[in-house]
Every structure is written in C-alpha cells, then in structure tokens.
Amino acid sequence: MNGAVPLTLMDVDLERGACRLHRREDLREKVGGSSLAAALYREYGLPGEDAFAPGQPLIFAIGPLTGYYPLMSKVVLGFKSPYSGDYVETHAGGRLALALRFSGLDALVIRGKSPRPVYLVLGDRHFACKDAGHLWGMDAVTTARTIRGSEPRGRGQRSILRIGPAGENLVKYACINVDTFRHFGRLGAGAVMGSKKLKAVMVSGDRSFSLPYQGTSYHKVYRQIYQRITGSGVMAKYHDLGTPVNVLVLNGLHSLPTRNLSATTFEGAAQISGEYFADKLLLRQIACSGCPVGCIHIGLLREKFSPEHEYYYKQVSYDHEPIFAMGSMLGIAPGEAVMLLLDEAEKWGLDVISCGVALAWATEARAAGLIGDEQTLVPLAFGKLEPYRQAIAAIATRANEFYRLLGEGTAVAAARYGGAEFACVLGQEMAGYATGPVYFVSQALGFRYSHLDSAGYQLDQQKTSMLEEALNYLEREERQRLMLTCLVACLFARNIYDQETIAAALAAAGFSELAQNLEERFTSLQRERWRVKKESGYDPHRVAIPRRFHEVKTLQGKLDAAFMETLRRAYAARIAGY
C-alpha cells in the first residue's frame, strides 16, 4: 500500500545545473507538507547563515493525500526568509501540487546559486536547467507567457512558477507567482529565487498511480467528501462572493484596517466589497487543480487609453487580503482603482499585502513630515491612485534609498525615518483583520506571521479575556491547521476535513499507519516544526507589537492593551518551551 512507498525527493543544484533523485522511506513518518519541509530544512538548511547564502534551500513539499481527494491541492514552501531572518513557510495552490504529484515528486529542493540567470524545466522523465538571459528583467506575467510559448511539454496541464523584477532586485517581500493568479506570496520567497538567479520553474508530469479496487472504502470516502464539498453548502461562500465577502462584515465590526489602521471602518467599503466586485467586475471563477469549489475570482478591468473609444482589458484576480491592502488601507475605492494597483503588484512580483501596508505607512509618515518628496518621489496621499501606482514600481525597482529601505520592510524604513509606532507590522505587514488582541498576537508570533496560522480573529469575536482559554485556543487551532497543511489540504476545507475524516481518508488511501493517533503525532510534529524555526534564529520574546495596535478601536471597542501584552508574553513563553 501507499504507506510503504518511499518518498521521492528531487534535489537540484543550481550551481551545476543538475539534479539528483532520492528515495526516502524514513521521511514517511513526517507525513508531508509543513512537517516534511521542516524535516528537510533541518537536513538541507543552513539555519545559522543568511537567507541569501547560496546553499539555502527552497523546499517545495506536497503531502500523502495530494490529488487523492478533493481540495488536496496546495504546496508548502519552506525556506529561510530574508524578511524575518528565520525559517518560515508560504503556501500556494494553482496546478503545482498536482504537477508535482504526476511528476512523481513528493518534494523538490532547490539549492545553490547559478552563475547566470536560468530557469528550470523539470518533472517526470525530464530535467533541464536553461539560460534565462532573455527573461531576466521581464515582468512576471510576460515571463509566464514567454515560457508557455517556448516550452511545448505539458501544454495546458503544467505549472509555471516565476518571479518578477522585485524578486530579481531582492525586495524582501517579493513573491513567487504561481500559474495564473496564485502566489507563494509572503516573506520574500521571490527574493530567494532572485538571489539564486533562478527566474522560473516549470513542472509537468503524466504519471499514474494505482488506486484501491472499486467497491473498497477509498471510493466510498472519496464520494462522501466530494458530496459534502459540492452538495452541502459548506463551501458555497468561497465560490460565490469569495473571501471579499469579509469586507463589509469586518467593516460592520469595526475591524477593517483603514488608512494605515488609523481607523477600522472605511467610508468606501461598499465600493470595494465582495458584493461590488461580484456585481460590477467579476468575469468568472476558476479553480486549483483537484478542487471543485473554484474560489479564484477574476475581475475584468477595462481601461480607456485614448480620447476615442479605445480600450484595453485585463483580467485581475482579487481576494479579501489584496483588497484591504490596496483598498481600505490606502483609502482607495472603488474596486476598479484597487484592481489597477493589484495588477501592478502582480506584474512586478510583489507581495500585495506587504506592499500595500508599507505604502500606507509611507503615506502617514509623509503626512507627519517624517519624509518628503525627496524620499517618496511622488505625492503619496490616502485615496490618490496614481502616486501609489508609481510607488509600487519604485519599490520593485528600488528607485532610491527610501524605496530601497521600504523594500526591506516597513519596520526597517521606520527605524531609519521614524514612525515605528504606526508601522502596521506584526512579524510582517499585517493582514486584513483588526479584530482585537488575540488576532494581533497570533499574527505577530505565528509560525508564518500569518492570519492563517491560528486565526485568532475567531476568538476575538467571542470577546474573550481569559488567558488560558486564548492560549489553548491558539495552540489547538495551530495543530488542527498543521494537520491540513501536512496532507496538503487547502485551509478553506478545514470544515470538511475534521480529524475523523482525515483519519478515514488516510486509511482508505493506504496510509493506515499515519491514520493512527493523529492528535499525538501532530502534537509532536507541531513542536518539532517550532524547534526548526527557533534553531534558525526565531526568538518569540523579541516580537513586539507596535503602539498603533494598542490604540486602535476594534470590534471590542477600545482594545484591552493590558490583556494583549499578557497574552503576548504568555504565548511567547509557551512557544519558547516547545
């Protein structure tokens, strides 16, 4: 059965432009995804060295259930972040998970630094490291189009990862664009690719894997899961309005970060809401491979470019996080204007959340007189579209000393120019939830400094001030999510894949051993993963929460700053003890 099959790992050395395959039976106990990547970082990583050290690995990992069930469609990328300086993860969907599965690869490790720009073409029965001189400097959208045109293999069923100029220029929140509209977005994986002179990776494969016979439990479990996903309405919100359904909800709760978190309601919320996008701009939805939900919302952006009736159109993907970052956080509305900024970030290859939050800080710093035109080059002001459009390019190209520092992270720029108290940084630039203390602590200390680590915003809505309750919630929620990111499931499926379903799905797919004692196994894997992070330089006691977060009005009214501080210290102590 599957459980006895060794994992296959491809180890790429960019310096030599060559690869090796390893079969590793011993790694099966790490399950896959998050825990597999952490185990491989312990083996291949250089925890004490700089994130741009040539030997640092980029570790892409899928899991035992990838492709075997619906929504098992994500890839975990583990790497040392040039932004935070410790071991982190970023996750992406698209076609990559299935392309790796059908290439016969459970993990792909990319190490070394190429002497010249290259791109990789790899998968089942093929590997090539090719010159990318013609792609270097090209935007992320055109890069993918060029590779699609020049590489015949796997047409229409392959995955293409690439960076834009921001990654080449080592902007510390440069992303990796995946296929069309998905990203390894946060914490600067794109800059690590840039430091390795690796412009793109194309993955394709056509392998097949035997399944249990018809009539066995696998087929029954598959059908039950599929029916719950498509028939029960549990997933409907993700397909219907998508994540932007949150915009009006959060706005109503005083939790929508607005104008650099100087406010938590936005007067333009209705014009950047999920409802507005769906009514005025939605072109269609598409899906990651192996997911019948289809949550990727594509908007149609139509712009007039001459006095006559001449237009061009673009397709731009939107979600809650990008809308908050380039919308309410910058005082920008309506949705059409937000989409113009999203399109810029997409092309330059920047993490849209960090980019928007960094520009929000710069806008406030400019208004406060800490910086001026000499620094910002354009008159940044909340609600003014065109300067932001130009500033995104300035970050990506590192146009001057100010934008060079802003490209190192908002906190770095604030350390130089002042304004650290209103830098909206929780480990990295904040995500779009100003719900209260549990969320702020959960992002600041979270494994990938993300709203997705342990979702403190759910507890904020219950207005808890019970320390033990909050700590246990964060720990338990993180463990539940770790189970999913080891399989590797989309976190939107967390209400489908409860522990009982995960155990049944693993056993039916032939992983009976992994299906046993889930709680115990993942308690241990959770701690192991934290240890890898700590070995790489992470100190939970060092994480600070800027003053803006203490003063902001959230859904709880004036935030309980004392409780937040107590929770921060206690959660840091718990992590330190793992």
Binding site: G67, Y68, P70, L98, R101, F102, A144, R145, R148, R155, G156, Q157, D179, T180, F181, D206, R207, S208, F209, S210, L211, Y213, Q214, H219, Y222, Y226, T230, R284, Q285, I286, A287, C288, S289, G290, C291, P292, V293, G294, I296, I298, Q315
Partner: protein, 139 residues
C-alpha cells in the same frame, strides 16, 4: 437511442479537472490526469478559458478504420469499443483521430479513449458535461 458524452457548456468550466480524475478513478482505477477519456486543458494561461477533448462518437470512426488488428471497432451511435487483448499498441488510432481525442498512455502504451459511460458527468460542479442522445451530437 444510445447516449453519448457531450461538453455542452465549456464556457462554465473552472478548470478543476474533477471530470478527468473521475474517469481515471472510476474507469481506469488510477490517480491520473492523463489516463482519462476526457481531457481538459487551459488555452494559454488560465485567462483564456478551457477546452475539453473527448471522443465525438463519429458515425464512421477513422480510428477504428485505421486499427490494423481489430482492437478498436465501431459501436453504432456510441463511439468505439476497445479490446485490449487485440491491441498492438501501434498508435495508428491516435494519429487517425481528427480531433486528437485518443491518447497513448505513456506507461502502458495503450490507447485511452472515452467509452461514453457518463461516469464523469456527475463530478462536474458546473454542468459543463451531459449525456445526450446520439441524434443531438451536432457539435
């Protein structure tokens, strides 16, 4: 009247590949996105939409005519029938198909062609696929 598969509304396709996985899983008993009688592909990035390739159940199937060993035979109104024990794995059926809807499996060398069994249809979340009577198959 026999029923055959038809991609009636590909403009609704979200590219989830659930149909292909259903065929691979239920007909061929494998996890695969190639061993499937229907193949969905993007038309140049995901912005250009998706197309489906599958057997169109031609009245005089060129693939069956090209088969030198009798492995592929006509099934009136229902596409073709495949008999594995007669197959030479020569690939002439694949070349003969005017819409390139027969693939040679890279691992087995056998042709993969839609059987018009309809097992993929309930797995399409957007009603892109349907079983229609042979008379309605004008594509």
């Amino acid at each position: 009247m026999a029923k055959v598969l038809k991609a009636v509304a590909m403009e609704r396709c979200i590219g989830c590949y659930s149909c292909m996985f259903a065929c691979a899983r239920l007909v061929h008993n494998v996890l695969s996105w190639s061993r499937s009688g229907i193949r969905v592909r993007s038309l140049g990035g995901l912005t250009a939409g998706f197309e489906a390739s599958y057997c169109l159940a031609c009245p005089k199937p060129a693939c069956a005519a090209a088969c030198p060993s009798g492995a592929l035979g006509e099934r009136p109104g229902k596409g073709v029938r495949y008999r594995r024990e007669l197959c030479l794995r020569c690939g002439r059926c694949s070349h003969a198909c005017p819409v390139k809807a027969i693939w040679l499996d890279q691992e087995t060398g056998e042709p993969v062609v839609c059987l018009h069994c309809g097992r993929c249809v309930p797995f399409c979340p957007h009603g892109c696929l349907a079983m229609v009577t042979s008379a309605e198959t004008s594509h």
